[in-house]
Assembly symmetry: D2
Homo-oligomer: 343 residues x 4
Amino acid sequence: MKFSFKNDYSEGCHPQILESLLRNNLDQQAGYGEDDYSKKAKDLIKAKIENDEAEVYFVSGGTQANLIVISSILRPYQCVISASTGHILNNETGAIEATGHKILSIEKEDGKLCPEDIIPVLESHQNIPHQVMPKLVYISNSTELGTIYTKKELENLSAFCKKNNLYLFMDGARLGHALTSEINDLELKDIAELTDIFYLGGTKNGALLGEVIIVTENDLRHDFAFNIKQKGALLAKGRLLGIQFLELMKEDLYFYLAKNANQQAMKIKNALSERGVGFLSDTSTNQIFPILSNKIIEVLSKKFEFYIWKKMDENSSAIRLITSWNTQNEPVEEFIKTFNSEL
Amino acid sequence: MKFSFKNDYSEGCHPQILESLLRNNLDQQAGYGEDDYSKKAKDLIKAKIENDEAEVYFVSGGTQANLIVISSILRPYQCVISASTGHILNNETGAIEATGHKILSIEKEDGKLCPEDIIPVLESHQNIPHQVMPKLVYISNSTELGTIYTKKELENLSAFCKKNNLYLFMDGARLGHALTSEINDLELKDIAELTDIFYLGGTKNGALLGEVIIVTENDLRHDFAFNIKQKGALLAKGRLLGIQFLELMKEDLYFYLAKNANQQAMKIKNALSERGVGFLSDTSTNQIFPILSNKIIEVLSKKFEFYIWKKMDENSSAIRLITSWNTQNEPVEEFIKTFNSEL
Amino acid sequence: MKFSFKNDYSEGCHPQILESLLRNNLDQQAGYGEDDYSKKAKDLIKAKIENDEAEVYFVSGGTQANLIVISSILRPYQCVISASTGHILNNETGAIEATGHKILSIEKEDGKLCPEDIIPVLESHQNIPHQVMPKLVYISNSTELGTIYTKKELENLSAFCKKNNLYLFMDGARLGHALTSEINDLELKDIAELTDIFYLGGTKNGALLGEVIIVTENDLRHDFAFNIKQKGALLAKGRLLGIQFLELMKEDLYFYLAKNANQQAMKIKNALSERGVGFLSDTSTNQIFPILSNKIIEVLSKKFEFYIWKKMDENSSAIRLITSWNTQNEPVEEFIKTFNSEL
Amino acid sequence: MKFSFKNDYSEGCHPQILESLLRNNLDQQAGYGEDDYSKKAKDLIKAKIENDEAEVYFVSGGTQANLIVISSILRPYQCVISASTGHILNNETGAIEATGHKILSIEKEDGKLCPEDIIPVLESHQNIPHQVMPKLVYISNSTELGTIYTKKELENLSAFCKKNNLYLFMDGARLGHALTSEINDLELKDIAELTDIFYLGGTKNGALLGEVIIVTENDLRHDFAFNIKQKGALLAKGRLLGIQFLELMKEDLYFYLAKNANQQAMKIKNALSERGVGFLSDTSTNQIFPILSNKIIEVLSKKFEFYIWKKMDENSSAIRLITSWNTQNEPVEEFIKTFNSEL
């Protein structure tokens, strides 16, 4: 079996989660998220963001979180603004449009949006009522390219959105990785303050499944549960999500796991950089996109699985390597060794 | 803690499932249902229904299964026919309508549809194009009232649907309970032959979550996966569903668990019947609806949790008791003892 | 050619409208409802309801008006309450559900809703978040059965809706007929005050096409135009609607035409009543539903077109007769004469 | 009053249409498109395209036609491909997305699509089921930039679509102008043969309102009427559309009117070209986009209304001039004279 660097959801979950599921398995609990574990996990999260008024919901996955959040917020004629790399644009089978909403795409190399990107979109959508009304800015952190927002960047974007009557929504499928990047200066609490709504991904950071949607904006906090049920996202055994996030949150296991993923990726990044390898995107999280010669790619492919991300020229391509909460030293070192031996 | 007869999803899952999750936890697998466990579980299910051509999909819950199936099948102007007790009508927050489709409701005391119920609906929907076009018949087995279809009934309904160009869809959230009822004469294979599409529920029969959608009708088999992804139902760690159904199916654990639930319910039913108690609905599965005096209900409520289903008159109500795969003899005997002691 | 009592849209439009279209035909005007005629017509309507703050929009037809209004108002998980006779329930090909919203139906013989009808619906929709949230009450005046609301009835319903946080929406496809019925005690101004949003039908009262949506509720007034455009209802030559409603409104031609329709219907009603004929519904507008022997129906059918509405028994049926703004004395008298000659 | 070159829907309709409406006004006819005029108009159109099997429907406007066609054809997970200039992308308030479908945009300067444009879109949408499935190619003729397709171009595109299992849909809001352009080599019959579905615009070519949807593809011909009704597009007085298209079609008035619009635009184009003016797009229909100095634009603005389409540099902009079926020599000559006097 080759070791896979294809994604961060190749393995099951952190063993501590399975132990807790086993320990609490036969305890009778109320259904649909009204169980004690979910309540405790929600309280823990509200404490971490220091906001008792926030609403916290658990759902199963990222596409589900995105479509529920967006369809809950927007009126029929309102639309989303996203960087062209946005997951909702390219990899969710039109899930957002299926709920009736257009996504306006902004070309960005690094996957991050700033006010200057959004201004021309607002300016070109003034032909009322013949055009959709931009109302929600969708960002991801870390982005689909592994990049992250700085505190300053997020503050600017947040202020711009407020001023322009736009909601700011952060897709945090890999928020743990962003917040534990070595160059990060944001805290979870900042995210809660600077966005109107965001989610915190479990699926890609050690849970079997699960994302936590956190709603802080006042007008959005009401009636959110109806949409979760309507979209088929309310698990009868909500305990499955509650137990997992209780384990992940209670002693910051969540951040510990993300940090491991980042560190393993950075080991490879640094080793390759030292040898003069360039990267498609300057990342500090668990995704790296080294540009390698086809010959080296072929050799690495014999021992490892990964995606060839982008053909650069006749002789080289960028590959994508993703490390996970469970990536150990061994395959990382083996990868570096294989690479070095081929130079 | 009171023992709860409120539903069949109060506990976690059968321990064998957790053991398998633990055993296979760190095995790297492809995502999105392309893992080996899911493939094996699908093969096992296709073998059980003796249909290699069927398409098998795993999703997380019943509302999700219902909305994906119905929105995948129907054209915008087509609608669903359901008994008035149908789960899609009353308890799914308008999930079906949210995908654009009307549900025509037929009043039925026992929750079961037969051709004679449907004929007048077809007759009253002939004002083309001013009315929706009935195209899919939604039934559940066991029904929301605990009743089940006989083979003869399902054959009649199936033939009627074929003749009238209607698709027949069975909600099998509790299909295990139906197929292991002491009065059942249907097999899983019959269900696959007599319906166009159906699902087999795991959530209410010992899984942490999960329903298996099985598509047998030729025109419906294509492109189903797109809808599953679009509706946010494709789990990144599809292995979670694959491992569970592999355990449930490989030695008929699924049916064994359902049978236990039925038997425990029947014990209570028989004990109460002997004492002259009447029931709202004549059930043979894991739901029973005894009509009791308010006084007895009050006493039972001190030891057990259950829903008061329907007020019958000033002095009595029907309650709903649900047993599960995990209901043991002890609470059942205690319930009967408590009841008897109050007579 | 037989004379048709089938509906009130068999003819073209009142000649005064065509004259105005001809007179103003080559005048260049702004598109999409920004023309002078539309502005004047809107001002006239706002003056008539004595509400300068109201928003007034013109659309082409009733189904279009209904689907725009309802989809503009409701959040995804909210639903409509309607009498079982509601046009949106039976005769609009699922147009409302196609925008994502369920309609809860209340059985009513006379097609009118009162608070007592709605209370049990609210009470049975408390299982949050598993059920849709009732949010908008849809009524029609005159109803699909030709009946009308009294001022007292509408005041009660309006107060009830306000108290229960429900919007009240009146389908006024035949509001002209309601307001000119001989037993009516409501004015157009009352309708504007007692509902949150309503429309005034032109198609069934002398226009080529067109309904006026009038929004008075504060929260609903904003951004309505976007939905009109999005649903394909914003005519490039909005002047076509503006010119028509200007003609219909400027000297109360609209009410004059509706009154004629009512009076012709009442002539037939009275003539038949005198001869002991019973009616399916006690109407005072331009729709009547006399119950006649099949033998008489057969004779009348040779000279007149009308719908057989409902079979009453082996020997008799209720028919529906509709008179229009253009129904003259001659066919009405001929109908009565033919009827009398057959007794 | 300034003369307006802003669009081709500033005036009412061709007088012959009003005369016919007047002549037939009081004739009683069946509603909802079942009138004799609509039937005759449909027969005439089927004769013109030499296809008796085609289905012909009348609707009110272009956005309505687009949303009905697209939502009728596509399954939930299928999407549209359009040039970046497509009307559905920019000027219909998200009408297509509101029916649940994504539009993939292809950047094109001239507004026209060819197979080479589409191939990379198909290639980049192979990640099944994570991406939408391209299924329908939307083109307009003439395009939003006034350009037209040659027969060869349309044949190539048509063959490509067939080969790739894509439907080809032509937005013909200005199809009359395309087919009467001096450089056109397509006939209406060719359009019917080379597309699967298209519409022929009346609103922008002399009608009060109305577009004719013509369905030739076999699988699409069925049940289309349901969608027209469901989307609120079925006029009760369908005669209004039938009478208009009967007049426009019966002696080719439709093409005569379009030709006039083209010729008037070409007069201006030629006069300006002679003086060395450049154009944003090389058009042969009733839209021209001359690039003028701001100084000249200011002078012209005093006598004429038109849109400033695009700022080219500090000193010049492209303006859009649209001529119509009713544009006479006088304003055209006056425009040219004013322009010349400023050189």
